[in-house]
C-alpha cells in the first residue's frame, strides 16, 4: 500500500508483554545474584551426573580426565545461569502451554543487573561485559610481555606461559567479536533507524547473558589447568589436552550462540524496523556496518558451534572427528575453524569502519564522501570474507592448486577495504577538523589499520608467507588490525556516544592523555614485532634467540605503558561518570545523527513519535540541506516528498 505518511501518528503503547514497573525490585526477584546461585547449583548437579554416568565406563573413569563430568558441569552451569537470570521464563512457559507472564521491567538502578529487554540497558550491560573481557585479557597480555623480557630467565613455567597465551588470545577474540556490535550496535542501531525497540528484545538480552556466561566458561579453563592450544585450538593437540580444553570448546560454543543470536536480532531489526523514509540510501554507515557484521555473525558462528561440538564429542565420547589415526582429520578442524575464523576477523573490522564513517563527518563538518562506496565496501568485505579462509593454511599441506586462488581472493578483499580509506580521505579533504577525542581515535584507526592492511598483503602472498607465517610478523599484523583498528574505533565510539548513553560527558583532558599514550605506546609495542618476526621469532614461545632481546624488551616496556594508558581511561570513566559527573548537553558534538536528536536521557521508547526520515544524516555545512526528519511535533510535517510503507514499528 502506498500512502503519503502522516507524521506524528499517535505514540503506540508499550508492548503488552512488558510490565513497566517503577522501583528497584526485591532481592528475591531474578537478578544476577540468583543467576550466580543457579549457575553454581547447576555446576554441582552436572558434575555429579557426569561422574555417575562416567563411572560405568572404565575408559572414562580411569582416564584421569573425565571430560564428561567437566562438560556436563559447564553445560548445567550455563543452563542454571540462564534460568537464574530469567532468560528461560518465557520459552519455558510457552513449552508447557501456559501464557507467559509479562517480564517485569524495573526502572531503578537494579535493572542493569537483570534480564532487561530495553536495548539501551542491554547496551550498557554489554559495555561492562566487554570491558571485563578486555581488562582480563589485557592483564594476561602484561604477563606475556613480562615473560618475554628475558629469553633465559623465566617468570612463569613453560606450562603456565602457554596457558596464559591461550587464555589471552581466546578471551580477546571473544571480546573483540562483540566489542562494538554488543554495546554500541545494540544501543544505537534502533535509535539510528528510528525504531522504538529491537525486533527480538528477548533474543537480544539472551545474547548478552550468553556472552557473559561465555566469560565464566572460558575463565573456568584456568581452574581446570588451562589449555595449551592458543585461541586456534588446533587438533590433535586439542584432543590430547587436559580438561581445560573442554572449557575452551564449550566456551566457544556458548559464545558462538550469543554471536549468532545477536547478529540475527540486529539483521532483522535493521531490515524490518527502519522508520518510514529510512530507505537503504539513507541508512547511516554505522548501521550498514552492523548489518554486514550481523550477516557474518549469523552465517559464520554456527560453523564454530558445530566445530566445537565435534571437538567436545572427541573429548567426551571418544569419537574421532579430528583424530587422524582413527579416520578423522586434523584438517577438518583447521578448515572449520578458519571458515568461521576469517569472517570473524571482519566481524571485528567492519563495525570499526562503521564508527569511523559515522564520526569523521561530524568533526569535519562535511558530508561523508562517497556514501555508496562506503556501504558497498562493507558489503563487499562481508561477501569476500567467506572465500579467503584457506590463506591460514598456505603452509599446511593443503592441495597446492588452491593456493593461487586463495591468494587472489585474499588480495581482492583489499579493494573493498580500500573503499573505506577513500571515504575517509575524501571526507578529510578540505574539511574543518575539530580535534575532539573521538576524532583523534578515528584518525588513529586509519593510521594503524593501514599498517595492518598493507602487512596483510605480505601475508597473502604465498612466497612471502613462507617468511612471515606463524611468526611475530603475523602477530603484529593482526594486533594492528584488531587493536589498532577495532579497539581504537571502539574507544572513538565510546567517547563519542557516552554523553548520550549516560548523560554525562567524558573529561577531555584525561581523554587526550588516554588517546596519546595509547596511540604512541600501541605503535611502540607492536611495530618492533614486525622486525622481531622477520628476524625469525615464532609465535607463542617462552624463549627466543638472544639477539632479539633488545627488541623484545623495547616491546615489553612499551606494552606496560600501553597497559597503563588504560588506567587513564578507567580514571576518566570513574571521574566523569561517577565522582564528578558533568551533565552533557543533548547534542554536544552538533551531530546530525538521528540518535542525537532525542532527549537525554533517552525516553524508554526512544521516540515520542516514530520519526519520518527525510534525508541521510551527513549534510553538514550544506546550505539549504533538507531537514533530517520529522519528529511529529513542531515544526510541522515535511513529508510530502516521498511515500512510505506501512509503519512496521507499531506493536501488535
Amino acid at each position: 500500500m502506498t500512502t503519503s505518511v502522516e507524521a506524528g501518528v499517535e505514540a503506540p503503547e508499550p508492548p503488552a508483554f512488558i510490565d513497566p514497573r517503577k522501583g528497584a525490585g526485591g532481592w528475591l526477584s531474578q537478578h544476577v545474584g540468583t543467576a550466580i546461585v543457579c549457575g553454581f547449583l547447576g555446576y554441582i548437579l552436572g558434575h555429579w551426573l557426569g561422574n555417575y554416568i562416567g563411572s560405568a565406563y572404565p575408559y572414562i573413569a580411569n582416564s584421569g580426565q573425565n571430560s564428561l563430568t567437566d562438560f556436563l558441569a559447564l553445560l548445567f552451569m550455563v543452563t542454571g545461569w540462564l534460568l537464574g537470570i530469567g532468560a528461560l521464563n518465557y520459552p519455558l512457559a510457552k513449552i508447557v502451554g501456559r501464557e507467559a507472564k509479562g517480564e517485569v521491567q524495573y526502572t531503578g538502578w537494579t535493572r542493569y543487573f537483570r534480564y532487561n529487554l530495553d536495548h539501551k540497558v542491554v547496551g550498557i550491560q554489554y559495555v561492562v561485559g566487554v570491558l571485563l573481557f578486555f581488562f582480563t585479557g589485557g592483564l594476561l597480555a602484561m604477563a606475556i610481555r613480562t615473560e618475554l623480557l628475558n629469553p633465559t630467565v623465566h617468570v612463569f613455567s613453560a606450562d603456565t606461559y602457554i596457558k596464559i597465551v591461550s587464555e589471552h588470545g581466546t578471551i580477546m577474540m571473544m571480546m573483540a567479536s562483540s566489542v562494538i556490535v554488543g554495546p554500541l550496535g545494540n544501543y544505537f542501531v534502533p535509535l539510528m533507524i528510528g525504531a522504538r525497540r529491537m525486533a527480538f528484545p528477548r533474543i537480544e538480552a539472551f545474547s548478552l547473558w550468553t556472552f557473559i556466561a561465555g566469560y565464566f566458561v572460558i575463565f573456568s579453563a584456568l581452574a581446570y589447568g588451562g589449555f595449551p592450544t592458543g585461541w586456534t585450538g588446533y587438533a590433535p593437540l586439542q584432543t590430547q589436552a587436559g580438561p581445560g580444553m573442554v572449557s575452551y570448546l564449550f566456551g566457544f560454543a556458548v559464545i558462538s550462540v550469543g554471536m549468532m543470536t545477536a547478529g540475527f536480532n540486529l539483521a532483522v531489526t535493521i531490515i524490518n524496523y527502519r522508520a518510514p523514509g529510512m530507505t537503504w540510501s539513507r541508512v547511516p554507515v554505522f548501521v550498514w556496518s552492523i548489518i554486514a557484521t550481523a550477516a557474518l555473525l549469523t552465517l559464520a558462528s554456527p560453523v564454530l558451534t558445530a566445530a566445537g561440538l565435534f571437538g567436545l564429542l572427541d573429548k567426551v565420547d571418544q569419537t574421532a572427528f579430528y583424530v587422524t589415526e582413527h579416520g578423522g582429520s586434523s584438517y577438518l578442524w583447521e578448515n572449520l575453524f578458519w571458515f568461521f575464523g576469517h569472517p570473524e576477523v571482519y566481524i571485528m573490522a567492519l563495525p570499526g569502519f562503521g564508527i569511523v564513517g559515522e564520526i569523521i563527518p561530524v568533526f569535519c563538518r562535511k558530508p561523508l564522501f562517497a556514501y555508496r562506496i562506503a556501504a558497498a565496501g562493507m558489503i563487499g568485505v562481508a561477501l569476500l570474507s567467506f572465500f579467503v579462509w584457506q590463506h591460514h593454511l598456505f603452509q599446511s599441506g593443503i592441495d597446492p592448486d588452491m593456493r593461487p586462488l586463495f591468494m587472489l581472493t585474499t588480495e581482492l578483499i583489499s579493494i573493498p577495504t580500500g573503499f573505506i580509506f577513500l571515504v575517509g580521505m575524501g571526507t578529510l579533504y578540505k574539511a574543518k577538523i575539530r580535534y575532539e577525542v573521538p576524532m583523534l581515535f578515528c584518525m588513529a584507526v586509519y593510521f594503524n589499520f593501514l599498517i595492518g592492511g598493507v602487512s596483510g598483503v605480505f601475508l597473502s602472498d604465498v612466497p612471502v608467507n613462507v617468511t612471515v607465517h606463524g611468526g611475530f610478523f603475523v602477530l603484529s599484523h593482526f594486533h594492528y588490525t584488531i587493536m589498532g583498528g577495532l579497539i581504537f574505533a571502539f574507544f572513538a565510539g565510546l567517547y563519542f556516544w557516552l554523553p548520550k548513553m549516560t548523560g554525562r560527558t567524558m573529561n577531555k583532558k584525561l581523554g587526550l592523555w588516554h588517546f596519546w599514550t595509547m596511540f604512541v605506546f600501541f605503535n611502540l609495542t607492536f611495530f618492533p614485532m614486525f622486525v622481531i618476526g622477520m628476524l625469525g621469532q615464532p609465535r607463542r614461545v617462552f624463549t627466543y634467540a638472544k639477539n632479539l632481546q633488545t627488541l623484545n624488551d623495547f616491546s615489553s616496556i612499551a606494552a606496560f605503558c600501553l597497559g597503563a594508558s588504560f588506567l587513564i581511561f578507567v580514571a576518566n570513566l570513574m571521574w566523569s561518570q561517577f565522582i564528578a559527573p558533568q551533565k552533557a548537553p543533548a547534542n554536544p558534538w552538533d551531530s546530525l545523527g538521528l540518535e542525537w536528536q532525542t532527549a537525554t536521557p533517552i525516553p524508554a521508547y526512544n521516540f515520542e513519535r516514530i520519526p519520518v526520515i527525510m534525508t541521510d544524516p551527513y549534510h553538514y555545512s550544506e546550505e539549504g540541506a533538507p531537514e533530517l526528519a520529522d519528529f511529529g511535533h513542531d515544526p510541522p510535517v515535511h513529508a510530502s516528498s516521498f511515500t512510505a510503507r506501512t509503519d512496521p514499528n507499531q506493536y501488535e
Binding site: 575408559y59 588446533y234 599441506g397 588480495e411 579493494i415 606463524g470 627466543y544
Partner: protein, 329 residues
C-alpha cells in the same frame, strides 16, 4: 574569496600532495631497494630465500607508496584543514563534497589494477620458485626436475645421491613433541638429530608428524611446512651458500613448543657425503631397530610413548579397553 580562486587553491592542495607523495615515494623506495633490500631476512642462503627476499622487496616497493600516500594525506589534513578558532567552521560542504564520480572510479580502477598485478606476480613467483619453499602437501605440483624420480626411489630404498650428480636429495623431517629428527632415505634411512644438507643441491623436505601439528621452519633456508600426523608435506629448496641455520617449530604444539628448535648446517657436497656414509654405517644397528622407512607413520594407538609404525599397522583399542567388562549388547 572568489569561486575561481577557491578552485585554484583546491588544485594547489591536490597538486602539492601529489608532488610530495611522488618525491617521498621515489626516495624511500630507492633507499629501501638499495640499502635495506639486500639485507632483508632471512638472507640469501638458498634459492627460495633469494627469490622470496626479492618478492618481499617488490611488495615493499609497492606498499611503501601506499603507506606514505595515506599517511601524508592524514598529516596534511591534520595540519592544514583543522579549526583553530572556537566558533563553528564556515561552510565547506555542499552537495559536491558528498562524492566525486571521477575520483571514485579512478580509485576503484587503480586499486583493482594493483591488486590483480600483485596476485599475478605472487602466482608467477610461486611457480617460478618451485613452490617457494612452502609445504605443498603429499602431491606437489611445483617441483624441481628429478624430484619425482628421487622421491620414488627413496621410498623404494633404491635412491642414490653423490656429489655433483645434480640429483634431488630427499630428507625426511619427523616432528614430535618436542623435537625434530631427520631421516635420510638415500642413505639406508638412518635417523639423525642433526640436519646436515649439502651445498648446491635441490633438497626435498618431506615433513610429517608423529603426534600433533608442528611446523618445520628452517629459517635461513626459507622453508616452512606444517608437520601433520599421517601426512607427508613436501617442500623444496636449493642450497646456495655454506653455513649454519636454525630450525624452529612455528606451529603451537604444546608446552615445550618454545623449546623446539635445533641448529642445522649446509656443508660442501663432499663433506656431506662423508658425514652421511659415516653416520649410515655407525648408526646401522639403530637403523635396523627403527620402523621401516615410510613417508608417514602411525603412532601406537594405545598411546605407548615413542612407538610408531609405518602407516597401516594400527593397533586398535580392544572392546574391553573401551567398554570395560560391560560389553554393549
Amino acid at each position: 574569496m572568489s569561486p575561481e580562486s577557491a578552485i585554484g587553491s583546491e588544485e594547489n592542495h591536490f597538486r602539492r600532495i601529489v608532488i610530495i607523495w611522488v618525491v617521498l615515494s621515489v626516495v624511500l623506495d630507492l633507499l629501501f631497494w638499495f640499502l635495506v633490500g639486500p639485507h632483508v631476512p632471512p638472507g640469501r642462503m638458498t634459492s627460495t630465500a633469494k627469490d622470496n627476499q626479492f618478492d618481499f622487496n617488490v611488495l615493499m616497493v609497492i606498499g611503501l607508496p601506499v603507506v606514505i600516500g595515506v599517511w601524508e594525506w592524514l598529516g596534511y589534513a591534520a595540519v592544514k584543514w583543522n579549526v583553530k578558532r572556537k566558533d563553528m567552521p564556515e561552510s565547506v560542504g555542499g552537495p559536491g563534497a558528498a562524492g566525486n564520480k571521477r575520483t571514485e572510479v579512478s580509485w576503484i580502477v587503480i586499486t583493482t589494477f594493483v591488486v590483480l598485478c600483485l596476485a599475478v606476480f605472487g602466482t608467477i613467483a610461486l611457480y617460478a620458485g618451485n613452490g617457494s619453499g612452502s609445504g605443498e602437501g603429499p602431491n606437489p605440483i611445483l617441483q624441481p626436475a628429478g624430484a619425482v624420480k628421487a622421491e620414488t626411489a627413496a621410498l623404494a630404498g633404491t635412491g642414490s645421491w653423490s656429489p655433483n650428480s645434480n640429483e634431488v636429495l630427499p630428507v625426511q623431517v619427523i616432528a614430535q613433541q618436542w623435537k625434530f629428527t631427520y631421516r635420510y632415505p638415500t642413505f639406508g634411512g638412518f635417523e639423525s638429530p642433526d640436519l646436515i644438507v649439502p651445498d648446491n643441491t635441490e633438497i626435498a623436505f618431506n615433513v610429517t608428524s608423529l603426534d600433533v601439528i608442528h611446523s618445520f621452519w628452517a629459517y635461513q633456508l626459507e622453508v616452512k611446512a606444517d608437520a601433520n600426523p599421517m601426512q607427508n608435506n613436501v617442500a623444496f629448496t636449493k642450497t646456495e651458500q655454506l653455513g649454519n641455520f636454525e630450525v624452529r617449530c612455528s606451529e603451537l604444539c604444546g608446552i615445550w613448543h618454545g623449546a623446539m628448535f635445533n641448529p642445522g648446517k649446509v656443508v660442501s657436497e663432499s663433506a656431506f657425503m662423508t658425514w652421511a656414509t659415516t653416520t649410515e654405517s655407525t648408526n646401522a644397528t639403530n637403523t635396523a631397530n627403527l620402523a621401516p622407512f615410510a613417508w608417514t607413520y602411525v603412532p601406537d594407538a594405545n598411546g605407548a610413548a615413542g612407538g610408531y609404525y609405518p602407516d597401516g599397522n594400527v593397533t586398535p583399542y580392544s572392546t574391553v579397553e573401551i567398554y570395560g567388562s560391560k560389553q554393549p549388547s
